[in-house]
Amino acid sequence: MIEHVNPALVDWSRAQFALTAIYHWIFVPLTLGLSFIIAMMETIYVRTGNEEWKRLTRFWMTLFGINFAIGVATGLILEFEFGTNWSNYSWFVGDIFGAPLAIEGILAFFLESTFIAVMFFGWNKVGKKFHLTSTWLVAIGANLSALWILVANAWMQNPVGMVFNPDTARNEMIDFWAVLFNPVAVDKFLHTISSGFLLASLFVLGISSWFLLKKREEWLAKRSMLIAAIFGLLSSLLVVFTGDTSARTLAKTQPVKFAAFEALYEGKQNAGLIALGVLKDSEEKLGKKKVKDFLFRIEIPGFLSVMTDGDRNSFVPGINDLVYGNADSTVFPVTEKMKRGKIARDLLNNYKAAKRQNEKETAADIKKIFHEEKFVDEIFRYFGYAFLETPEEAIPNVSIAFYSFHLMVMLGFMFILVCLIALYLVLRGTIAKNKWFLWIALISIPLAYIASESGWVLAEMGRQPWIIQDMMPVSAAVTQISTGSVMTTFILFALLFTALLIAEVSIMVKQIKTGPKH
């Protein structure tokens, strides 16, 4: 189906996409959450008429604007990189994947970009209520755009609502609602936006803490902290809830990723959840990959089984079970999936050959097979395994999955405490006196970014080797260009993004130091 692919080309193409995605995700979560915080502040201004609230709104709006532009720029690159670097993917699933992107543009981006102009330039040009409506519409637009791109991403993690068409050699959508309400999409959307709300709340808490530490703008800082603490606390609870539901879904849809982020090699009942642990290489190997062992760990007994489907006695398959099979728990070995994948691929090749040689009857007979439910469920769903050379290729990088997951979870729970304490101290009126907490709130800003990025590292690295779970590995999806070209563009993007990030942080810091305008 595809010609020999240079592994270096795959790695550089992945690196370029990861670079763009990581930079993009530095800016997006703040936009998602800060837009709502600003809208809440402006609502209070419009309701009370208090000019101090307007000053407060405009201060956070300035920081929002600085962050927003670079998020938009990196987002454009991501969209087009699906075509430039993953052209085989773009064709194989463009019929499904492209639709959410188009809808995102029509429904969300225009809403955001139209009313952001009113938000920034309209203070003295439109009425208060129109301006406030625009600010809310920007927040809704930003979060709507997140919905559609996350629907697209969720489909890659759990492809649903489509059928394979051998004539066009691609997957085609047959159920839009299945794609939109894909359980992974629902979890992912709620988890992602709530984590964005939380990050923005911690950003506002941290910056406000800095003002209090410097004994400046106390009125503004305390009011900002009150809003951020309430919004952050509610968001953090939603993050935990949706994180839990995401894990349950993941255990069913991407069990290897699930096992990898717990470094669980041997499946068991009553499986414990690692609360804290450090990995080390063991002597044992799975193919070329070293098995990870624990240097130390703190485990909550039975919790992983409970997390999977609410029962301590549930069997959680480990990496060994998932790769080599487990007759007791009816887990297929990857070798069997590879065999079935190759049957599907050979059938597609036979169909193409029959069409080319104008053997109409043979082609028609083969086409019928592609539409048989049994064939789809038992054979074709493993199509992507045909591209694997060894079963161990189905194992993602366990260390990265493990650490990114645990870092994200630990920080997530810490942030609940931060928001809770902030709310308590603000309501008691003692926040300015508790310098220890103000420092913790300030330090929480970079930690929030680390947690947020870790989530995406887990989601994307944890599903390797797949670009579309079980259907297409990254090696089959990549555009056939020279590795040198991708290396060059990677370096150019890295230099440019880094320069722009440094400029952004510098401007942001300067604006914060300057403080709200009088």
Binding site: I70, A73, F80, G105, G122, K352, I481
Partner: protein, 378 residues
């Protein structure tokens, strides 16, 4: 009844119309880029530069969003084009992307303190995006008529026939002519927009003088492209076999066989010329509306000529059978229909854009405003 009316064929035409509409809006909105390409030559003082940048800066998001939506709509409706062109003509698209990344931040950062790279660097970014963006997009679109060097295998994976991955389009005179025509059209529209939205006598005078030179340049390159297009062989699709063949005067035939498209095209050209003339000869500041509408109509018609009437919209000059048509490159019927329902919201989107635009632009930018309480954002 509905099923009969909304056939697969209809949906493929419908989505080509939507993509063409988005392309034409994009070319119109590139007045932002056109204006940026003159930030060194048009203003003679810092204040005037600030006024120009702020006038254009209020609209950069529209252009950007239209580009993103154009990409998304093309991906969703004609994914084989997305895979073939973006994956194959890698360097052209990467160059376009680079020119747009630097634009988005340039507006926001240029006048902010501690921007590290300095105002001059961000102004250079604006200039580069302004000059390269329209030129490269125009050149890339010209390959819709002149062809590209690629082939598709049985599984429809693209293989580019030259190691230049799209840059070879830059050595074709017709491609260059359209690239330059789009650039000068963007500059013409940029000048007309500045004339309309900035209230400054000297700037207006200088803009009108520059308008003349840019209009002549636009007309020259556009005429060259148009004449060569009408006289050239085109990539026709044989209606019986579906094979792509070279047909003499194909694009001229398309105009003649689709008189409505010809009328739209001519109305567009007249609109552009009228917008220019009314500004130069009648000192009107409303030329942008005529020229803008004209741009949308002319580009829309050109896209219809590229894709309708049995024409390959993304032909392969290297391997004719690989050429893309709106039929072999499109998404499935189900996807096109689903997205068609979504597209019904477009008039509503246009309506709120219009409303917000009018609200922001009802007062022209003045030096006093830039120095006033609110100051300038960019």
């Amino acid at each position: 009844m509905t099923t009969i009316l909304i056939s697969y064929l209809f949906l493929q035409y419908y989505w080509w119309v939507i993509v063409s509409l988005l392309a034409s809006l994009l070319v119109f909105l590139m007045f932002v880029q056109g204006g940026q390409s003159m930030i060194y030559s048009l203003p003679d003082t810092d204040m005037r530069k600030t006024m120009i940048v702020n006038a254009l800066g209020r609209k950069w998001e529209f252009t950007f969003t239209t580009l993103v939506t154009f990409g998304g709509a093309f991906f969703a409706s004609f994914p084989l084009f997305y895979a073939t062109s973006f994956g194959g003509a890698y360097w052209v698209w990467i160059a376009i992307l680079f020119s747009f990344i630097i634009q988005a931040v340039a507006y926001e950062y240029r006048s902010k303190p501690a921007n590290i790279l300095g105002k001059k660097t961000f102004d250079l970014f604006l200039f580069l995006n302004g000059a390269l963006g329209p030129f490269l997009i125009g050149t890339a679109v010209a390959t819709f008529f002149t062809g590209s060097q690629y082939s598709l295998n049985l599984m429809l994976s693209v293989k580019w026939a030259t190691p230049w991955h799209g840059l070879e389009a830059l050595i074709n005179g017709r491609n260059l002519a359209l690239g330059l025509a789009v650039l000068f059209l963007a500059r013409v529209n940029g000048l007309l927009y500045i004339i309309n939205s900035v209230d400054d006598g000297e700037l207006l005078e200088k803009s009108v003088r520059k308008l003349l030179i840019n209009s002549v340049s636009f007309i020259a390159f556009f005429l060259f492209f148009l004449v060569t297009l009408l006289l050239a062989d085109g990539y026709a699709v044989n209606s019986e076999t579906g094979k792509v063949i070279l047909e003499k005067y194909k694009y001229l035939h398309n105009f003649l066989q689709m008189p409505l498209v010809l009328i739209i095209f001519l109305a567009g050209v007249v609109g552009i010329l009228y917008g220019i003339a009314v500004t130069i000869f009648k000192n009107s500041i409303k030329g942008i509306w005529f020229s803008g509408a004209g741009t949308i109509l002319a580009v829309f018609a050109l896209f219809l000529v590229a894709g309708f009437n049995g024409t390959s919209f993304y032909p392969s000059s290297y391997h004719l059978p690989s050429s893309l048509t709106i039929h072999n490159a499109s998404s499935s019927e189900f996807t096109l229909k689903t997205m068609m329902y979504v597209s019904f919201i477009i008039p509503f989107v246009v309506a709120y854009i219009w409303y917000a635009w009018k609200a922001i632009n009802k007062k022209r930018i003045t030096g006093d405003e830039m120095n006033g309480e609110e100051g300038h954002v960019y």
